[in-house]
Every structure is written in structure tokens, then in C-alpha cells.
Symmetry: C2
């Protein structure tokens, strides 16, 4: 398989798009030459990380009482029509199956763009009384959308995700689930993937089709555009009414269920990991999802007998695999410097160097991917030291990324200031705005036009941010009811 | 969610089909009421087992040097046409996407029925010289086939599987891979799932479309029909020529690669687990893939204070979860006997009973799903004893299933004897046959007609079974070149 043959060096912050679109191919994550546009091939270096990311999310979902399930990939057209706003929101995006063999189907089948309309008809069969609730199911799968512009992990015609669909007896429980879902996002993104993020309550005009509220997780990428990587939609009883999902309470009274759905965007989270942690040398993968945990590079002087060095490398490789790490031993005939650059580009968190000295002194040399600083450790404690180095690196990644985010949120009091923040700071502008209900949409549209794409991302969740008494909307000058964040978006 | 409310009792051997089609719904594995025929909903009890089965197979594949990948679900029509026999074999089975949004596609896209024609065009881009070989990739996914009759886990319009696709420089390596694939099947099926199986070299007229040879793994179900659960196809250079997958050797000479593909039929293996191990009380799941490892049932006398018993149950539940087991604690208000029957029906391998005595004597009572025999064990060793009970049960399942298979293979010397074996013994007839090359097809067709569906499954692999010098074909009476097995099939 192809592997980049040159040293990787690109200025991530100068031209992020160029950096991103070079590194994902150089690091052998994907191939975009599949002969259906917008559909990509996921190569092993990507799939190994995705498998780890799925395992982390699935464990969190199951701890919160969700159970795994799998619904059909195909959804009949009539299911779509049941929830009108949902149908309007998705119908242009849908790939339709119309034939089987040489026969025309009597009704069209959609490739799922999302699974509400597949799942909730079944919920209506399963839910009878209050003892059947809550229903909390998730599925890990790909979904399909007819996007016009695509980019690997950011936007695609087929992409990886998880969708969790919950039904509750009470509105209270459904609202409590939003906090639980945000807790899952926070633990996975913040603690495991070292990613900084913000939770937003989306403005009314930007909710999921068919939902009452959308609570979304955004991550700022180095080009200043923000990426929605997960969201929970408070569906209220909209879908319950459309799909007739009802239960009898203890007094035998019938009610519609209250629903939420939570979608961790596995693809987009990978994009965020690449974009936030990567540097000019290539990928920097957090140890929790690195496709390769450790690379071992033998340092062999040209005239020396390599046997003892290679033996030690092989022995260490077995020891690390035994300890549950995924390990590459690079015995190719390239120079050590070339090998370092290659594995750095692929983002391997820890490199082990073994030469004559390391053999003689019963130790190895470790280097972390991010700082490239070397550390000597004894053979006896090497597994432990590799783990420690990984943890230290993850902590540094988190701190750097957190600092970056803090430095890229600025208050603005005029549209010019917002433009300045979007164009120069390349971050979020925090502003006072008239309203995030439908009566605020005109201001948002003006703002988007004036700032060339700046969007109201919503009211921050988990922070008590309110305009002062006399604050005015940055667009219309009317009294401001909300503090919101503006950014260009993916 | 619905759960069977009555005690399960069905005679598996008397009417296997009725048993199977009752137990898969009673045990809450699937729901077949999805409103597209032949597409089913996988419920948590099935998905939990599938997740474990996938993990076992993926680990084995990766140990053998395969790497995870994911290719698009859609395949353009022109890819299908490149390997002619393959296209002929699959084209009637294909679901076609012809529209996106309201727009007609310029060319049709197939939902993958299998991924040779998606993957090998990429292999032709990736393979340049001998250092790029071997390529060994797998993907875990669902595939789509327009089957006319469907049954959960046996045959469906969308089903779960793994496909591993390998390309080698030499024919020798490709043939060696067949043995490696069979090793994986043997370890997973035989050692982890307690299933007996036979490997067959399929007759020439029954190979995979486009392959030179098909090496298949068959399992006998209780109705006497045999089920192909996995296969490796020796593709030779057929697809390499169709998709132009070539490499340069060390002397710069160009060659087509030699290919194999291996498909563990995840769905069908689940069907075999259910069918082979189940009994008249319901599922019997081998511990390696049981959706629930342990159920804890408190035994509470009607007038006694349940606090100490329930506390002990809860404490044990936490301890078992801590030890990595999936545990249900049944605190419903049903009787213990009712609970036993419910969890037996769902195939939970180990039941823990805790009553007054168990509290007083610092012990618990364990019962294995298959024998239902009880055993007293000390609180201190409960995790260890549960594991031991599971291992003992798996060994018993294996022995019983092996004995069953041995008793259901019989030699036959006439078509009448074959009929007797298929109808009464409900097993395999072992016979001498003229040929398994194309010149033997007429005998096979006659045999299939005369025996109402008996099929030549092929020559056994791993056994040196040859006809004696004067043996005659059981159908045509010509000299017999092969010993083959006949059975009806799924």
C-alpha cells in the first residue's frame, strides 16, 4: 500500500485546508479515488482509530442504560412523510432505491439519512404501558446524504456515526437525558480525546427538522470555522404523535412519549481530533484512539552487527503487544531520521529508539510525538513509562487546545468587530442579540450576510451568560435578550 | 419492551422450524414487523451477542495479519460488469439506487451484495510492486440481497457479515491462506462457540461466481439441513484480470495478483448457535457470546424481610460487573420459577440464586443453563466458580454437538439409502460419486431431483477420503473418483 515517501511539512495555521487535505492522505487514513463521488474508502489507519472511538462511546452509552440495536438501512418513503418538518428537512438529501434485480419496486426505499423514521414505528409496537419505558437504544452505523460538497470526515455522502434514540414517560426525564448526553460528550471529547468544546442551545431557526430544541457540541477548528460534532435533539412529542408512540400510565390513561435523540458524529470527531491536535509534521493522535500506540525504531550504525539491537526490538515488541498495545517495529532500510518523520506524520504517540547504548545499558529511549523530547527509561519499567508518557502527552494536548479556545473567544459590540474576530482572530465572537426565537431570525440573516457566513451558534449551555439590563442587539439595536456566539461553520 | 409472558416449551427436534421461529422472537432477538419485507430489526439481545462475535473474529483476523477497512456501501453498475461470471451470479440479487433527492442518477448504484467489485478497483490503485503485497483487509458490515424467502439469521435482504479480501504475489500464498482462514473458522466455531462443523471443497458447479474453488464450512441443523456458515473463495487471477490488479516483481516483470476472499457469515453463525445448542426450554448461549452472562434471582419467602437478600444480590451484581461480566438482577415481582423459565429461555448460561440460607451461610447457589444442576459455592470464589461453570458448560455443549454430528453421518450405496438418511436420520449421506468437476453435474442434478433436494456438498477437507479402487458412482455407476457428502441445505 502506498505510504508517503517524503518528509511531511505543512503550515497548519497558515493554510488549514491545504494541511488537512494533505495529511489525511499522507497519513493513509482514506482514499478518495473510489469511483462514486463523495463516497470514500476508509483505510486501516482510520478504521483502527474508529474502532477505538466506537468502543469508548458505546461503553459510555451502555453505562447510561442504552442498549445496542440495529435497524434496517432502508426506510420506505411513506415513513418519511409522517413527520412533515422532518420530511421537508431531509427529502432533498435522500438516495432512493427504486429497483431490485430487473424489477421496479412498488414504492421507493430511502437509504437512511438518520433513523427516526425507521425506529419510531417500531417503538410504537414495543411501548404499551409505563413499564415498557424508558426505551434507550443506540446503533453504530453509516448514514447517507446527498451532499453537494464533501470532504473526508467533515461532510460525506456516506459517513460513520452513532445514533441513540430514547423515549420517556415524562418531559422531565427527556430533559434530564440532555444533560446525560452532554455528560457523555464531555467525558469522551474532553477526557479521552483531549478536545475542548462548547455546548450550545441552538436558535429556533437552526433546530433539527422535527425537534423542539437542538443542543449541540461545537469544536473550533484552526481556520476559525466551528464544527458541530454531536447533538441531542429534544423531540418533545412531535414524532410520538406522527408515529403513534403511546403508553398507558399506572391509572390506565394514555399519553404520547417524550423523546430525545443523541448523535455523536464519529466522523466529525475524527476531523476535530486531526484538526485540533495535528501540527506541521502531521497527525498527533491522542493515545486513547491512536491506530498505532508505539513505534520501535532500531538505531543501527552502518558497520555494526545489528543482531543484539534487532533482538531487543523484537523482544520489546512482543512485550508491548502482550501488554495490550498496538506496536510497529520499523525494520525497513530507511534512515532513522526518515522513519521518525514518517511515524510522526502518522501521529504515533510514542517512539522507542533502541541502539547500541540502549542494549548495553538495559534501557530504551522514548520520545513523545508532540514535544519530540527524549527520555531514558529502564527496560524493566518500559510499559509503565510508555503509558505515563502517553498520559502526559494527552494532558499537554488538552491544555494547549483549551488555551487556544480561550484565546479565540472575543466579545464584539458591532458587526465590524465581529468581522474582525471571524477574519483575523479566526474564532468566536460573543455578542448580545435580540432573540434566539423565530423573531431573531432576521437579525441572524443580516449578520450572516454582513459577515460573510457568520452564524449564530446559540446560547452557551452550562454558563450563565445574560446581557446586562441596558444591552442592545448587535444587529438591530433592540433590547438584547441573549448572549450568543457567532462563527463561520462547517 | 415486549418479553414473553409464558413459560417457553417447544420440542426442538420434532418441529425445528416451529421451534426456531418461536424462540428467536420469544427470546427478544429480533422483530420482523419492520415495514419492508425481508428486512428485520436487531434487538439488544441479538446485538450484544453479535458485538461479542465480531470482536472474536476481528481479533483472529488481525492476528493473521488482516487489517480493518470500510468501503462504500454503494457500487456503480459498471464495476459489476467487469467480472462476467460474478455479474451473472449476482445481478438478479441487487437492489439499485437510481435517484437522489428528486434527481435521476446518470448511472445506477448497487447496494453491495458482496464487495469484490468495490474493493478490487482500489487494490489496482494500491498495488504497484511486490513490496505492496500481500494486501489483507477485512470489513465488518451488512450486505444486501434481494432474496425471495427470508428467515432471521438464515437468509435476509440485509444481513451481518465479515468479508476479508486478500491479494498475494504467488498462487502458493493464496492457497496457504485457505488453510489459515479455515484455522480461524475452526478456532472461533469449534473452540469459542462449541459448534461442530465440516470443511468442504465445493463441487465445480457450486463455486462462488468468479472463483476457481470454494472452500466452505457447513454445520448440520437439527432438521437435517446443512448450513454454510463461512467460506473462502480461491479467486485465482480472475478478478485481478478484470480489475487490473498487477504488481512488478523484484526483476521488474509484471504479474496479476492471486486472490482469496473469506466470509464468516456472522448472521448464519448465530443461526447455528441457536439451532445447535438450543433446547426445548429455549436458547442455550455459549458463554463466549452470551448477551447476558449471569442472572441473579433473589429467593424471598413471602413473609420474610427481603433486605439482606436484596442487599447481597446487589453487592454481587456490582462485583460481577466489576469482573467484566454482564449481569441482570431480576427484582420483578414474579415467582422464582417463572423467572428461571424466562432467563432459561433467553439462554443465560449461569443463574445465581440467593435466599435466606445463602445469606446465612456466606454462599450462593449456581445453576448452569444446560443441565440446570445446582452447585453451592462460597461468596469468596463466586467469580471464579461462575467462569468454571461456564467453561464446563461450553465443554458439554461441544461434546453433545460433536456426538450428534458423528451420529448423523452415514454411508449410503444407493439413492434409496440416501433418501432414508436425509428423511429419517436427518443427516449427511456419505457416498461415492463419479466426479466433482463439471462432468459430474448431471449425476448431482439427478441426485437432487431423486432425493427431493439432496445436494452434493463436496469433498471433505482435512480427511483423506477416497473411494476404493472398484467403487462406483452412486448415481451413474461409472467408476467413482470422489467421496462426497449429500444433504439438503439452507
Amino acid at each position: 500500500m502506498a505510504m508517503a515517501e517524503k518528509e511531511f511539512k505543512k503550515d497548519k495555521n497558515k493554510d488549514f485546508s491545504d494541511w488537512y487535505n494533505t495529511v489525511i492522505y499522507a497519513a493513509d487514513l482514506v482514499d478518495n479515488r473510489y469511483n462514486v463521488q463523495g463516497f470514500i474508502v476508509h483505510k486501516p489507519m482510520a478504521m483502527r482509530s474508529f474502532k477505538k472511538m466506537y468502543a469508548i462511546f458505546e461503553k459510555e452509552l451502555e453505562k447510561d442504560g442504552h442498549q445496542p440495536s440495529l435497524f434496517p438501512t432502508v426506510i420506505p418513503e411513506e415513513n418519511f412523510e409522517l413527520e412533515k418538518k422532518h420530511a421537508e428537512g431531509f427529502v432533498a438529501d435522500v438516495f432512493w432505491i427504486t429497483e431490485r434485480g430487473s424489477e421496479k419496486l412498488k414504492r421507493k426505499l430511502a437509504l437512511r439519512p438518520t433513523s427516526e423514521t425507521a425506529m419510531y414505528q417500531m417503538y410504537s409496537l414495543w411501548v404499551r404501558d409505563h413499564t415498557d419505558l424508558p426505551v434507550k437504544l443506540y446503533q453504530s452505523c453509516t448514514v447517507f446524504r446527498n451532499e453537494s460538497e464533501t470532504s473526508p470526515f467533515l461532510r460525506g455522502r456516506e459517513f460513520l456515526w452513532i445514533e441513540a434514540h430514547d423515549a420517556f414517560a415524562t418531559e422531565k426525564e427527556s430533559k434530564e437525558q440532555i444533560a446525560k448526553d452532554m455528560g457523555i460528550s464531555a467525558r469522551v471529547l474532553g477526557e479521552r480525546l483531549a478536545l475542548p468544546f462548547m455546548f450550545f442551545d441552538r436558535p429556533k431557526w437552526d433546530t433539527f427538522p422535527g425537534a423542539e430544541h437542538t443542543y449541540a457540541t461545537d469544536i473550533l477548528l484552526p481556520d476559525g470555522k466551528t464544527l458541530q460534532v454531536a447533538s441531542t435533539h429534544l423531540l418533545g412529542q412531535n414524532f410520538a404523535k406522527a408515529f403513534n408512540v403511546k403508553f398507558k400510565d399506572a391509572e390506565n390513561n394514555e399519553h404520547f412519549v417524550h423523546q430525545t435523540c443523541y448523535g455523536p458524529g464519529i466522523w466529525r470527531i475524527m476531523a476535530a481530533v486531526i484538526a485540533v491536535h495535528g501540527d506541521d509534521r502531521g497527525l498527533v493522535m491522542p493515545p486513547s484512539i491512536a491506530p498505532i500506540d508505539v513505534v520501535i525504531v532500531p538505531i543501527i550504525k552502518s558497520k555494526a552487527d545489528p543482531t543484539a539491537i534487532v533482538d531487543k526490538c523484537r523482544k520489546l515488541k512482543d512485550e508491548l503487544i502482550e501488554a495490550g498495545l498496538s506496536v510497529e517495529l520499523d525494520l525497513s532500510d530507511k534512515t532513522p531520521g526518515f522513519k521518525y518523520a514518517q511515524w510522526e506524520m502518522k501521529g504515533v504517540p510514542v517512539r522507542v529508539e533502541i541502539g547500541e547504548k540502549e542494549v548495553a545499558e538495559s534501557r530504551v529511549t522514548l520520545a513523545a510525538r508532540d514535544t519530540k523530547q527524549r527520555r531514558q527509561v529502564s527496560d524493566k519499567s518500559v510499559v509503565q513509562e510508555i503509558r505515563k508518557l502517553g498520559e502526559e502527552m494527552a494532558a499537554r494536548l488538552k491544555k494547549n487546545a483549551d488555551d487556544y479556545l480561550v484565546a479565540h473567544v472575543k466579545d464584539a459590540e458591532s458587526i465590524d468587530e465581529i468581522k474582525e474576530i471571524l477574519d483575523k482572530t479566526r474564532g468566536y465572537a460573543r455578542v448580545n442579540i435580540h432573540s434566539v426565537e423565530m423573531d431573531g431570525k432576521e437579525c441572524a440573516d443580516t449578520l450572516q450576510f454582513e459577515t460573510k457566513g457568520g452564524k449564530v451558534r446559540g446560547v452557551r449551555i452550562g454558563k450563565d451568560e445574560k446581557p446586562s439590563g441596558d444591552a442592545k442587539c448587535v444587529v438591530c439595536g433592540k433590547p438584547a435578550k441573549h448572549v450568543v456566539y457567532i462563527a463561520r461553520q462547517y
